[in-house]
Amino acid sequence: MRQPYDLSRRGFLISGTAAATLGALQAPVLAQEKVFRLGALNSITGIGGPYGPYMLEAIKIAVNEVNEAGGAAGRKFQLFAEDDQTKPEAAVLAVKKLVEINKVEAVVGIWPSSVGLATMPITNDANVITMNTCGAPEMLTENKKGLAWMFQASNAIFGNAFAEVARQRGFKRPAVMAFNNSTFVGQANYFKNAWESGGGKVEAFVIYEPNQSSYRTELARVLATKPDVISLSAYRPDATIILKEWFQTGQDCKFIMPGWTANEDLVKALGKEATEGLISISNVAADKHEAYKRFAAAFRKVAKREPDIFAAQSYDMVITLALALEAAGPQADVAGVNGKIRSVTGVGGTRVNGFAEGRDLLRKGEKVDYEGASSRLDFGKHGETVPDFGVSDIRDGKLVLKETIPGKLPA
C-alpha cells in the first residue's frame, strides 16, 4: 500500500527543527513582559449561538480596557479564545487545549452548565480559575476548590423566584416546560419544589429535547391540562417555535420566562401580538451602574446593539479578574489571585465602576468593591452571585419593569 504522505525521518527532522526554532524565538518575547494568559471558552456555535459571540466581544472589550490602562499589576492580558460548540465533548477538548497548550491561568465566558460541569474537573486539576454564567445548582457543590465563580444566579434561585412571582400574581394552575439540560431542568425542579412546598400542584411537567423543528406534541401535552400559567425555561430559538405554536392554538395562558429569552429580541422574532403579556424574570440589570453605561457604550460601537446580561457578565469576569490580579500583586500565583476575588467585589470597600479607577485605589492600599455591569457582584460561600430579580411584563413589544424581588437561596 502506498503511504498517503511521506513520513520520512528527514521530513520529521526538518519540521521538528522548525518547531523548536519557533519555540526558541517565542521565549524571549515572553520573558520581557510578563503577561496573564487568559482563556475565553464561549458557545460561539450551537444553541448558544445567539449569546456566545457577544460574550466574546464583551471579553475583548474588557481585555482592551485593562491592557490600555497598562495591565493589572504590570501584567497585560493575552487572550486565547475557543469555541465549545455548546457541547460538553467539544468543550473538554477546547479547555484541554487552553490549559495544556496555551497554559492559561483563568478561563472565562463559560455559558452553559453542561460545559461548566464538564470542564470543572479539568480546570480544578490544573488549578485554573474559571468564571461562568452557569446556573445549574450542581455547580455550587462541584466547586470544591473554590476556583469557580458563577456570575449568573443559580437556577435554584431562579426557580424559586418564578414560583414566587406565579403566586404573587394569583395563578392557580401552573405547568412547567423546560429545555433538557442541567440548567433548565434544575430551574424546572426548583419551581416545582417551591410551588408544591407552598401547598399547590403542578399540572404538567414536561422536559423537551432541544434542536427540534416543532414542539407541538410536547406543547399539546402541557396545554391539555389547561394551565393558567406555564413556567417556560427555554432559550430563544426553541422559545420562538414554542410560543409561535402556542399562539397558533389560540388557547389562553400566560408564560413566565427567564429574561435572557423573553426580551426585545424575542419580540422581534415573534411580533408584538404573540409576545403580549409574557412575564420576564431576570437579574436586575445593573443599568444604573456606571460600569454598565460605559460598557454598553463600548459594546454598541462594536456589536451595533444593546448588550444582553451574559455579555455584561462576561465583561465583569475580566474586570474582576484584573482587579484581583492587581490586588494580589505581580508575583502572585493563581491561588493568590483567586483569593483576592472576594475582597475586590465584597462589601466594605470603596465602590468602583471600572478597572483603572479600582487599580488606582488598590495602589494606594485602599479596599475596593467593584460594582459590576451585570450586578453588584457579591459572591456567596460557593462562589455564586445572589442578585435581586426584576419582574417585567412585555407590553406592546417593550419590557416594562413591574417589581423587584430580592433573590434568596432556597431553604
Binding site: T45, G49, G52, V206, T217, A220, A224, P237
Partner: protein, 291 residues
C-alpha cells in the same frame, strides 16, 4: 391517551414528515445514482432557509418568490459543488465522496455563518390561528407546507417514471455500466440529479425555516433522522424514502405522548430496528444479493 391527542400528534408527524420527505428524496436519489450518502444534504437545507430569509429582505414581501429564489440558489450551489468536488471524485470509492460531502457541509455552513452570524433569524410569515375541529387542530401554514411538498414530490415522480430523463436516471441507478453501454450520457443525468437534489433541499429548508426558526445548525441536526427515514423506507427507493421519513416522524410524535419527550427519538429508532429485523431491505427496498 385520548384519540384527539393521538390524531393531533399524527397530523404533526405527517407535516414534519412531508417536509423532510423532500431532502430525504434528495438523499435517496443521490445515493441511487451518484452512489454515496450525501452528508451535505442538511446544510443545503440550511442554505435554502437562509436564502429564503435573505431574498425576502432583498425582494420584499412575497414569500412565494423568496422560496423560489431559495430553490434556485440552492440548486445552483448544489450544481457548483458537483462540478467542483463530486465530479472529480466520481471514480473514487464512495467513502471518499462521503467524506468530501461532509467537507462541503462544513464549507456551506461556515460561509453562511460568516455572513449571517450565529444568531437566529425568522422568515416573516404572518402568524395565524389554527382551525379547531373539536380539538383537532389544523394550521393553515401546515396545509401550505404539505401542499408545496406534495406538488414538488408529484413533479419529481412524474419526471422519474413518465419521461425519458427519468428513464435514463433509473437506468443509471440500476447499472451505470449497462446504461453507458446503451448510450446514455451520464453527464446530463448528473446535472439534472444535482439540480433536483439542490432545489428539493432548498425547498425543504425554506419550509422548515417558515415553520421553525432559521439557525446555522437547522439542517445538520436533521441529518440523522433523515438518513434513518431513508433506511427505513429502503435505500435507493424514492417512494420508500417518502414513506420511511413520514413513518419515522409520526412514530416520533406519537411516541412523545407515551414516553417522555426526551425518549421520542429512541422510540423512533426502535421502530426502525423492528422494521429492519423483519425486512432487512427496508419497507420498499429491493433485496441486494452479494455478487
Amino acid at each position: 391517551m385520548d384519540l384527539i391527542s393521538i390524531a393531533n400528534a399524527v397530523i404533526n408527524g405527517v407535516v414534519i414528515g412531508m417536509l423532510l420527505a423532500l431532502p430525504a428524496l434528495a438523499i435517496t436519489l443521490v445515493f441511487g445514482i451518484a452512489r454515496f450518502p450525501n452528508a451535505a444534504t442538511g446544510d443545503y437545507m440550511t442554505l435554502g432557509a437562509y436564502t429564503t430569509m435573505a431574498s425576502q429582505l432583498v425582494l420584499g414581501g412575497s414569500i412565494v418568490a423568496a422560496v423560489l429564489a431559495a430553490m434556485t440558489a440552492t440548486a445552483a450551489i448544489s450544481l457548483l459543488m458537483y462540478f467542483w468536488v463530486f465530479r472529480a471524485l466520481s471514480e473514487r470509492s464512495h467513502v471518499s465522496r462521503l467524506i468530501a460531502s461532509i467537507g462541503v457541509a462544513f464549507a456551506v455552513r461556515s460561509t453562511i455563518t460568516f455572513f449571517a452570524g450565529q444568531d437566529q433569524y425568522v422568515i416573516d410569515v404572518p402568524l395565524v390561528r389554527a382551525w379547531n375541529f373539536g380539538g383537532l387542530r389544523i394550521l393553515p401554514t401546515d396545509l401550505y407546507i404539505v401542499g408545496a411538498a406534495l406538488t414538488a414530490l408529484f413533479v419529481v415522480f412524474f419526471i422519474m417514471y413518465l419521461t425519458p430523463t427519468g428513464r435514463r436516471m433509473r437506468a443509471i441507478a440500476d447499472s451505470a455500466e449497462l446504461a453507458a453501454a446503451s448510450g446514455i450520457r451520464a453527464r446530463r443525468v448528473m446535472i439534472f440529479l444535482w439540480t433536483i437534489a439542490g432545489a428539493f433541499c432548498g425547498l425543504g429548508g425554506a419550509l422548515l425555516g417558515i415553520k421553525a426558526v432559521v439557525l446555522p445548525e437547522l439542517g445538520w441536526e436533521l441529518l440523522m433522522p433523515m438518513f434513518a427515514g431513508v433506511i427505513l423506507g429502503g435505500i435507493g427507493s424514492p417512494v420508500g424514502a417518502v414513506l420511511g421519513i413520514v413513518t419515522f416522524s409520526i412514530a416520533q410524535e406519537v411516541a412523545s405522548l407515551y414516553v417522555g419527550p426526551a425518549y421520542k427519538i429512541v422510540l423512533a429508532f426502535f421502530i426502525l430496528l423492528v422494521v429492519l429485523l423483519l425486512r432487512p431491505q427496508g419497507m420498499l427496498g429491493r433485496p441486494i444479493a452479494a455478487r
